[in-house]
Symmetry: C2
Subunit: 351 residues, 2 copies
């Protein structure tokens, strides 16, 4: 695992300990994945590298079985985890400020006699931002299952079928392939229903000559995929075809510039310029994409606001879209890994 | 909806505004459900009852369609939502301290020139703690689907079948019934694998004369169910039978005392005493149960630490368990609603 970056940060910045609280960050660092709901679930890492996992007592064995070698403090629902450890002071204390709740902050400030707070969010983002070869392999597998899922959805299209029926067919097919979890709520939207970029599938029936928008992903051994395809059922109108071709061009051109050293904001700009120049700028209201890994939305943020450059090992989505209310919604999304000298597209379903 | 309790709290405590951030609380108050991922998604309610929803620009139409009548501030990924509103000061400001992150707190403190923080968590818990008749009806429907899911799982049991195969059959069956989402990761555990109370289903194959533990729930129109049944495949050992009967007795006796005015801690005690007196106290490491509603784990907490009494309209789980490593794991869980003069069990699958 990658604990060196954390202890290095602590020592370089004279911070006594770090308190990691995002379940996926704890999974990344310990190999143990848990959904704590409202219960306390945290990993304490001290400056000298000592690690202590705080978890419900009933999860102690599983954490050990997952391979975690540090100390484990298992508490009962009726106990305070902090009462079970020796009193220790960490005057300077690093937290995940984007994740830790105000209430939990008050608890740890008291428990460890904290005088000063530092943020460790960026350190963890930087570590997870660059994937290892092993992680990229898992992300590629996840992308292949996403391709399969789109194929299953396309096969189910027929006049009169409902969005929910197609969705159920996709997820059932995935289960038959051993995928027990999608990376987010599968989206299947017909015709102008797709003009809401985050719409919810319902009982709408498919009519001839409509577009169908699929947005979905799977979780494979913890790693996520995320693909969008918009397909024509029958012959779309000229207007719909025009919109599709603009989005496809934006998708391809934006991907084409991805390589180490290229600006992330430029990738967003390439797609946005194509869509704006075609007169649809106001109908592309979201960023171009996002990072992908253990979480379906993680760093890097692919938008004009991101001043960073692409680095080898980053994995991200490119998903331009045009949504014209009452007319059509089109989005085309791929998963991309930045390689040493360019990029590789992980999703393979035809566009 | 129930906004009166919130404005009453604000006025009684001289608080200028409340900042609601838990997505399910926003759903409860606005009718609009969204998973914001890392994006800002908050409901501002001022002392005089003005409501403003902050959400991504692309969700504005959906929030309106969901029936929300207040102001909506839709922001682009490249914008700060706070730059889009007129500068207003809320010196005393209520937050959900258990949900709001430290980073978001810093943002709102700056945006609204906040001088003092109050917590509004308990107000929202109290409101959601007591369900309306309409909510109870939906929870009952969700419980009926959970019964169906257990039945589907039992039907699939056969020598050599794996936990994952049974799990997939359950979830596929649910999809065929129009249930698109389970309320948490479905658990199907065979034999001594069930001795880990939060175990993960895998490739373990079912053998004759083993116990099978199912723990699952569905989401029906936003409302959750949560049921556990432990069933024997063949003839269990005497030891396993003994454990089962103790857990069943704990489940029944604990449920029997539920009525308005009874102490919640007493319910936990009744079950715990039965298990302890039988010599298995150390193998029951979790609280007796939890509240159930829009969230699968919500208030009230059914444990010895809860000093409250049952109130009509509360909906909760009762789920005693005994987990003896290497021997067996048994848990039996029902969903219960507290009525005006007692209780009603919502889950119906035989025990």
């Amino acid at each position: 695992m990658n604990h060196n970056e954390i202890t290095t940060f602590l020592n370089d910045n004279n911070v006594d300990a770090a308190w990691i609280t995002t379940p996926l960050n704890i999974f990344y660092l310990t190999g143990y994945l848990s959904e704590p709901h409202e219960r306390l679930f945290s990993l304490l890492i001290t400056k000298d590298g000592e690690e202590t996992l705080f978890c419900p007592k009933m999860e102690v064995e599983e954490a050990k079985n997952a391979g975690f070698k540090g100390n484990i403090v298992g508490y009962l629902d009726t106990e305070s985890a902090f009462d079970l450890i020796e009193q220790r002071d960490y005057a300077t204390f690093a937290i995940e400020a984007e994740h830790l709740s105000v209430k939990r902050l008050r608890e740890v400030e008291q428990a460890f006699n904290v005088q000063q707070i530092e943020d460790i969010d960026q350190v963890l983002k930087d570590v997870r931002n660059v994937k290892t070869d092993e992680e990229i392999e898992l992300l590629h597998e996840a992308a292949k299952y996403a391709d399969l899922a789109i194929q299953a959805g396309v096969e189910k299209l027929a006049e009169g079928v409902t969005e929910i029926e197609v969705l159920n067919h996709i997820e059932t097919t995935m289960k038959q392939h051993g995928i027990s979890k999608m990376s987010f709520d599968t989206m299947v939207l017909f015709g102008d229903h797709a003009a809401a970029p985050h719409g919810t599938p319902g009982d709408r029936q498919l009519k001839n000559n409509e577009f169908v928008l699929f947005d979905l992903g799977v979780i494979y051994k913890g790693y996520c995929s995320d693909i969008t395809r918009t397909v024509a059922f029958g012959t779309p109108t000229d207007k719909a075809k025009e919109i599709y071709n603009i989005v496809l061009e934006a998708n391809k051109q934006a991907i084409s510039i991805i390589k180490p050293g290229a600006k992330i904001s430029e990738c967003d700009k390439v797609a946005r310029d194509i869509i704006s120049n075609a007169g649809f700028g106001e109908y592309f209201p979201h960023r171009l994409g996002h990072g992908l890994g253990l979480s379906v939305h993680e760093f890097p943020d692919i938008s004009s606001a991101n001043k960073d450059e692409f680095k080898p090992g980053m994995v991200l989505t490119v998903e331009p879209g045009i949504y014209v209310p009452g007319v059509a919604g089109v989005r085309i999304e791929d998963d991309i890994v930045v390689t040493e000298d360019g990029h590789r597209i992980l999703t393979g379903y035809q566009k």
